[in-house]
């Protein structure tokens, strides 16, 4: 009896029936065997399809009720990834995921054809990673404190590739990949490595549990919390102390990673779309769907009632440029903060998609100053961006564009926390394709010291 897997899964039922779809499929089969028109005289044979039909109807009713609570459960897995991905228009994007190695100068790019390429300027070979389970890649991330491990979030599972940096092979075999999967935990839309390199967290919008993997042992511990209907986006703070886990409903959680307890943060309007942490893990910036502001939360040792503060308003504004006025602003797709905490890049979603860059400063008070915009070639819109984790001369923003190009946008500056850097022998300052006026002197947000 072949069990059919229905696209919508019951996240809370999947706790009990981990092999979801199996029970429904079985009941379906039993019910249909009766309606196929076989002559059934026996009482048992008659009552079995009837009762299974009743149970099936009940299940469907419960699932529809559940689906109305969490509409995202009715989406297909591709649509779900597109909906919750940090990439703008994920489904038609040529570059679906991008990741810089945290220590070495190399990066991995996941492409539309479900392959991953690894580029390293010091090596002539560009390994291409393909695996039969590697479909609909939502995210890739390199393991910190390791040269070779790359985690890939796929439609049905989680893959961890071990790509030997010294190997000359261009097609590592699928034996180099570890497959991590747990029933009811797919599609995986977000992954995050612990900055100390020991643990990996994965999340799926249909599973209310996020799973903490011990990758070497291939064992996962589910961390279950009721409410929210799933986990869509994860971000581990650079100091390793907290994890942001947003859900498809208007609620996100901040986990502390020592005893794995969480704080609930209900939002007023929509779900938490994106978030990023300051380098010391004390401040979280996040955005909420259908709002045009950036919120800030601070995490200090002193407990107490807190509320998120609005630190920037990105609602639509007209700027006059030599080419004419342009209107910039709107909802935010994703955010990236460089690892020194000096530049914040914000990818704006709506017409035209554009990246706004802010200068940030953490001490003595938190400051957010507009810096400029990053625009691509005419017709190309930014889809995905990431800061280089250890660019010595400032910050390096890598942007993937809708036409499949990847550009690196360097920001050269003298860091406040690294004053030893000098500009001797530095290339000329970068040509930023700024389409906006200089706002450097105008402080957009300054936090008052209380």
């Amino acid at each position: 009896m072949e069990a059919t897997v229905t696209p919508q899964r019951y996240a809370f039922l999947s706790v009990f029936f981990r092999r979801d779809g199996g029970l429904t499929g079985l009941l379906n089969e039993i019910t249909n065997s009766h309606t196929e028109g076989r002559h059934v005289n026996n009482v048992v044979c008659f009552s079995l399809p009837l009762s299974s039909g009743c149970v099936l109807a009940l299940l469907r009713w419960v699932s529809s009720f559940h689906g109305s609570l969490f509409p995202h459960l009715t989406l297909s897995s591709e649509d779900m990834i597109a909906e919750f991905s940090q990439v703008l228009n994920w489904s038609d994007c040529v570059v679906r995921a991008f990741s810089w190695h945290p220590h070495a100068d190399k990066f991995a790019v996941a492409l539309l054809d479900d392959s991953i390429k690894i580029y390293n300027p010091k090596s002539a070979t560009t390994p291409t990673l393909k695996h039969r389970l590697q479909r609909s890649i939502a995210a890739v991330q390199w393991k910190p404190l390791c040269a070779s491990a790359l985690a890939v979030a796929c439609q049905n599972c989680l893959l961890v590739w071990h790509v030997d940096p010294c190997s000359l092979s261009t097609r590592p075999s699928s034996g180099c990949a570890q497959v991590l999967s747990q029933p009811g935990h797919s599609p995986v839309t977000s992954i995050a490595w612990c900055p100390s390199g020991s643990l990996l967290v994965s999340s799926s919008p249909v599973d209310t549990a996020m799973i903490v993997w011990d990758v070497a042992a291939e064992s996962g511990v589910p961390l279950q919390r009721v409410g929210g209907g799933g986990v869509t986006f994860l971000s581990w703070s650079p100091d390793g102390s907290h994890i942001l886990a947003s859900t498809p409903s208007a609620l996100f959680r901040v986990w502390e990673t020592r005893m794995w307890t969480c704080e609930r943060w209900p939002c007023v309007k929509g779900r938490c779309q994106s978030g990023c942490w300051s380098p010391d893990g004390s401040r979280l910036l996040f955005t909420v769907q259908s709002e045009t502001v950036i919120y800030s939360l601070t995490f200090t040792d002193i407990p107490g009632p807190q509320a998120a503060a609005v630190v920037a308003d990105l609602s639509e504004t007209a700027f006059s440029t030599p080419d004419g006025d342009i209107i910039v602003g709107g909802e935010i797709q994703s955010m990236a903060w460089d690892l020194r905490g000096e530049r914040l890049a914000v990818l704006l979603k709506d017409r035209p998609a554009i990246i706004a860059v802010f200068k940030t400063r953490a001490s003595p008070i938190f400051e957010l100053l507009p810096c400029g915009f990053v625009q691509g070639e005419p017709g190309a819109e930014p889809r995905l961006m990431q800061f280089h984790p250890n660019f010595r001369d400032g910050a390096l923003l890598t942007v993937c564009w809708s036409n499949g190009k990847i550009t690196h946008v360097p920001f050269y500056f003298l860091s406040a926390s690294f004053p030893q850097l000098s500009f001797v022998g530095k290339p000329s300052p970068p040509r930023l394709q700024d389409g906006a006026a200089d706002f450097t002197n105008q402080s957009l947000f300054t936090e008052l010291i209380s």
């Binding site: 404190l145 390791c146 390199g197 070497a216 042992a217 064992s219 511990v221 961390l223 279950q224």
Partner: protein
């Protein structure tokens, strides 16, 4: 009132037994840490009994047609004294001395068999059987109906009232014994007594809540298998215990026997058996789960104390002690966590003693961790050397067939001499010469089948091994061999002896199939056994590397700098040994998928976790120190290795 007194009795008894065991170890402190945990876990499992029993009663009485009647019956039953009395007799199989943090890994089937037949295990199985019977009896009483008593009065044809056997209760009691026995057997085979530590620290409540669905699922499926096996067993052998019981208790057999197909296909009976088996297993698993959760909870040891009385409780002292293992593991876990999370306690580690200015804390901790790492390195090297020497002698023996036998062995193993003696290519007695044209194909096949699996060769798999196979059953002491040599040369004259030989060898080998099955090395077992206690090494590596990383900014006196070369070199040595171990042919490079059951399979993947942790630990140090490491005094070879790490090429 009956219940409370009995529960307190039970609790007291258990705690007494727990503390008795503890008293063997490190006196007061140990009892404080471990005994309290054991007692708390037992107390919790006793507290969880009433709700479990309520669920059991509900399911056993459930009927689709009368839901309200079911509920009312359940409530009345729960309140009735007899049912509550039956709860308490559920004894626990917590025999603390059996639990350990290091798994016992049987390397072959015979070792497993030896474990199963160990007197202690036999006693344990017996206890489990008895407990199973008692629990089954309690279940029977709770369910009532036809399971309540073993005998019932039945009218006889001649009018005399006689007691007849109630086979329904007998079958339930036997099921209890069967489930208890199989639980204890599975416990040995799946290492139920092994306590593993989790990488993700969670509060007890969350851990319990997270594991509860798993426990329920495991007990349900395991009960299903047990009932199936039991029913099959009862179908074939059920008449034996029934006859025995009838004879002993002087009962009559009235109804038609249950060990027939129609008797056993009673769905109500099967359902009740299954529910009861689920109930026992659930109770046992819950106890096990609670015990594991309580014992592995983090205990925070003070790093240093200003009072000398408290010194035995301090981290460096506990780390240095060999026994009890559980305390040492807890201390290492605490070390790994403090090095990662606690700034204040790290400062204590790096601090100097007040009069004198010695870094006692750091020295003690680093010395203990380094000795652990050195110990593992040595163990790996020794293992590798044994395998390497095995390989060498093998290649020698296969390559030196034409050499004289004086240095190696007598006639039983080396046939070259005899061939020269006799002058014709004859096969030596007891030595199946595989290349000889006289050896039958069957013999050749047998020999090739049998020999690679011989126990004495471990898991080495090479074609050479077949050459050495015959040595297994040879004795080669000096005078004996000369005598036998003479004897052999006489016998060779007769051709009949040859056939006799062949048949003898054939018989011998065919008998040995069972032996080889038993002695056959289980795959990966030796590797697992080698890394059985690697959780300690993982913590030592984590603790050391995090402390070294923190010392970059927090160590004001430079106490870590003095030991940095030895830390680096011991880590690199271990890295080398681990790399070599994973290059051995039998060591698989990836962990096998763990099945979700109560079986703790963590020990199977410890070596992979160790390998990953080791690499991460070295990277942690090299990333933190960067080019400063070039100033550290280490050997040129290690420097080269470190350079690889600095360039992220490992």
């Amino acid at each position: 009132q009956c219940m409370t007194s009995n529960i307190s009795n039970l609790g007291l008894w258990e705690s007494l037994s727990a503390c008795e065991v503890c008293a063997d170890g490190n006196a007061l402190f140990h009892s404080q840490v471990v005994c309290w945990r054991a007692v708390a876990s037992i107390a919790w499992s006793v507290l969880l009994l009433p709700p479990t029993t309520a669920v059991f009663t509900f399911f056993s009485k459930f009927s689709f047609l009368h839901p309200i009647q079911t509920i009312s019956e359940c409530i009345s039953l729960m309140t009735s004294a007899s049912a509550i009395f039956s709860l308490i007799l559920v004894l626990k199989d917590l025999i603390l001395s059996l639990f350990s943090v290091i798994p016992t890994i049987a390397c072959s089937k015979i070792a497993l068999l030896a474990q199963l037949l160990h007197p202690r295990q036999l006693v344990n199985s017996l206890l489990h059987c008895i407990m199973g019977v008692i629990v089954a009896w309690c279940c029977g009483v709770t369910m009532g109906f036809r399971y309540e008593s073993l005998g019932y009065p039945c009218p006889q044809s001649d009018g005399l009232p006689l007691m007849c056997l109630n086979e329904y209760q007998l079958i339930l009691l036997l099921l209890g014994a069967f489930v208890g026995f199989s639980h204890s057997l599975l416990g040995v085979m799946h290492n139920f007594n092994y306590i593993s530590f989790h990488t993700v620290q969670q509060y007890k409540y969350h851990r319990f809540k997270g594991a509860l669905p798993l426990v329920a699922r495991c007990s349900v499926t395991q009960a299903l298998y047990s009932v199936r096996n039991f029913v099959v067993l009862y179908f074939f052998l059920g008449h034996v215990p029934r006859a025995w019981i009838c004879q002993t208790l002087n009962l009559q057999l009235n109804r038609s026997a249950l060990d027939s197909i129609s008797g056993l296909l009673d769905f109500t009976l099967l359902y009740h058996l299954w529910i009861s088996a689920t109930f026992f297993l659930f109770l046992w698993y819950i106890t096990l789960l609670l015990f594991r959760i309580f014992v592995t909870e983090v205990h925070s040891f003070p790093v240093q104390s200003s009072f000398t009385d408290d010194t035995p409780q301090c981290l460096p002292t506990v780390l240095a002690e060999k026994q009890p293992m559980i305390l040492k593991f807890l201390a290492l876990q605490d070390l790994a966590l403090l090095s990662q999370h606690s700034l204040a306690r790290r400062c204590e580690v790096f601090s100097l003693s007040q009069p004198g200015g010695h870094a006692h804390n750091w020295n003690a901790i680093s010395k203990e961790c380094l000795s652990l790492l050195a110990d593992l390195t040595q163990r790996l090297q020794a293992y590798h050397d044994t395998i390497a020497t095995n390989g060498r002698t093998k290649s020698l023996s296969s390559g030196s067939e034409r050499k004289s036998s004086s240095e190696t062995s007598g006639i039983f193993t080396n046939n070259v001499d005899l061939r020269s003696l006799v002058g014709e290519p004859l096969t030596a007695p007891f030595t199946p010469d595989l290349v000889s044209p006289f050896a039958s194909p069957a013999l050749r096949r047998l020999a090739t089948v049998v020999d690679p699996g011989s126990p004495w060769y471990g898991t080495v798999q090479s074609p050479h091994i077949m050459r050495r196979g015959p040595k297994l059953w040879s004795t080669s002491t000096g005078d004996q061999s000369t005598f036998l040599e003479k004897l052999g040369s006489y016998f060779f004259k007769t051709k009949t002896f040859f056939f006799l030989c062949v048949t003898q060898v054939k018989n011998f080998l065919s008998k040995r199939v069972l032996v080889t099955y038993l002695f056959n090395k289980l795959p990966e077992a030796s590797s697992q056994a080698l890394f059985a206690d690697s959780q300690a090494h993982i913590w030592a590596l984590e603790g050391l590397s995090y402390l070294v990383q923190a010392s970059f900014s927090e160590d004001h006196f430079g106490v870590v700098q003095t030991t940095l070369p030895s830390i680096l070199s011991s880590m690199l040595l271990l890295q080398e040994a681990v790399d070599r171990h994973f290059k051995l042919p039998h060591a698989s490079s990836k962990p096998s998928r763990s099945t979700s059951s109560m079986e703790e399979s963590t020990y199977k993947t410890l070596r992979f976790a160790l390998r990953a942790t080791l690499k991460t630990a070295i990277y942690r140090i090299t990333t933190t120190f960067g080019d400063h490491l070039k100033a550290v005094q280490i050997s040129a070879e290690h420097r080269k290795r470190l350079q690889q790490f600095l360039e992220y090429k490992e």
